[in-house]
Subunit: 327 residues, 2 copies
């Protein structure tokens, strides 16, 4: 068979939206699903006035509360607390030093909700002094066995099945999918490819400074006790510009921390799409928004309603919640 | 035709090295070309003990001196000097302040070879206070008309044809090709996709800090007068780890500034490939190595020879030099 004869078929395969089967089976047949499909179809239809070339089909996703749960604390905090406890014998000074003392006393809520400076101190204490590879291995080891304190699931079983379908649907339509998380970049990179199909080079997150050094004649990248970039709130568009250098045409989040990412997304020309996941399901997940310290969703909700962005209610718009619940 | 019936053919197309035509016609039939092809064939051959999955086929390229020329000064310096001259009326203090005064007096060699602090001061003076979009537009506008002071070519005509073929060959074999340059990230991003087929998200370079702000109710990313990351020497592996999060399996450079990138590359397990472009052609390009302040190539050359890395002589191994010279 002549290879060239296949080219038209290959091109059709590459550019056609998937129509054969429902690409979003865990989404109810309600407005958010319709809005997603309508957007994808218009930006991928050749000849459409809204057509967007493949190279510009960039979609950015928050992680905590958008791709997996974030209650009662960000899951990264459970990892940090477990490392703080393990490292405590080497740090007697932590007994009287907040936020470390809060962790050691078991007041996890207070530790998790300390100010940004305290949170960054916790991150640096658990990450600096390790090579990036060592830190990522510690994350991988922890995720293999750690379980959620309330439902006993592995944390990677608490990724959202409808969002996984959405990621796959976008990629099947030529989108490059990125995580842009306020959480740690090196906390997410080790497992995002397996969990979400998102490779490390498409995971942007809060990072510490690192340096190249020789250890026993072997080059390593060593974590330093200094924050590099905090990719939450106003840091999300900065992270997007720095790492991607293109403006997304679609963004997905769940809290006020994602608002600037969405503002940056919609301020570009041409078709744009923003979707907020609204945590409305106290039975199958959690219900929270304007009053919650974690995933605080107030300015973002008001702006989404005012601007007509899509808001997906987990209770009303998702048939199932977790990847682990899929039959 | 059933779409599924095409799948085996598509897979073969995706994974086979290009064998039909010579993918590297501007390379002489000498050792460097043989080494490149042998490496690509072994890492892409299914069942080979050296097979590397597509997701791990990361190749990193220096820019100045590796993908385009860098003499008599880094081309970015010509851009910076033109901006300094344009901005000088607003900065009377520059008349007595090095390195600005050197530029204004026309002592471009001294200005270009000032210390790192001076170079960073020049970069910040020409980039801070502009939005990223404004800065990139200024680069685009300058490149459209500025010409090399010695040969009169547009700078983008001075990209290396053999390296362009190499980039295409690697990509046709499933590699993701990155630029990791000591030059400015936002100086290279506006034109790398057209010149090299490398999209902005695969251009890593020296960067200044930026911030998100609202200007006339419109979000912008504004350049700040502070360096973020210098991606030369030890900064190259740091940039690679930060932006890509995977170790390259192949690296390409031309100077000591690329040595740590190569050390980081070869320290991984499995097949690895490093190639140095050696500037040996005083007639068609320039000849320089151990004595040159720009593109200084001494430790890198010694280590390449000691370790058996590939060294390509522009004089002996390249049939033509510039994209502009291609018939």
């Amino acid at each position: 068979m002549k290879v060239l004869a296949l080219l038209p078929c290959i091109l059709i395969l590459l550019i056609s939206p998937l129509r054969a089967a429902d690409p979003l089976p865990s989404w109810q047949d309600t407005a958010p699903k319709h809005a997603i499909v309508a957007f994808v179809e218009k930006v991928t239809r050749p000849g459409s006035p809204d057509f967007v070339p493949v190279s510009e089909r960039i979609a950015t996703f928050d992680n905590d509360g958008t791709l997996w749960s974030e209650q009662p604390l960000y899951f990264q905090n459970f990892f940090i607390f477990s490392r703080i406890k393990a490292l405590a014998p080497q740090h007697p000074e932590w007994t009287n030093q907040e936020p470390f003392s809060l962790v050691l006393k078991g007041d996890l809520n207070a530790a998790a909700n300390c100010n940004l400076q305290g949170q960054l101190a916790l991150i640096m204490a658990t990450q600096a002094g390790l090579t990036v590879e060592e830190y990522q291995q510690a994350v991988t080891d922890w995720l293999a066995t750690a379980r959620h304190p309330q439902n006993g699931k592995l944390y990677t079983e608490m990724t959202f099945q409808p969002m996984l379908e959405l990621l796959n649907y976008l990629r099947a339509n030529g989108f490059k999918t990125y995580i842009v998380s306020g959480g740690g970049m090196d906390f997410i990179r080790p497992w995002a490819e397996k969990a979400y199909g998102i490779p490390p080079e498409q995971v942007i997150g809060t990072s510490i400074k690192t340096q190249f050094e020789m250890r026993d004649s072997k080059p390593v990248i060593m974590g330093l006790p200094a924050i590099d970039l905090v990719t939450d709130n106003v840091g999300k568009p900065v992270g997007i510009q720095t790492y991607i250098g293109r403006r997304p045409i679609a963004s997905f989040g769940n809290s006020d921390g994602d608002l600037q990412m969405m503002q940056w997304t919609v301020a570009g020309s041409g078709p744009r799409f923003c979707l907020y996941v609204h945590h409305t399901d106290a039975v199958r997940e959690w219900a929270y928004d304007r009053q919650s310290p974690i995933g605080h969703f107030e300015k973002g909700l008001d702006e989404a309603l005012a601007k007509g962005w899509t808001v997906a209610s987990m209770k009303d718009d998702w048939k199932i919640i977790y990847v682990a619940d899929k039959k």
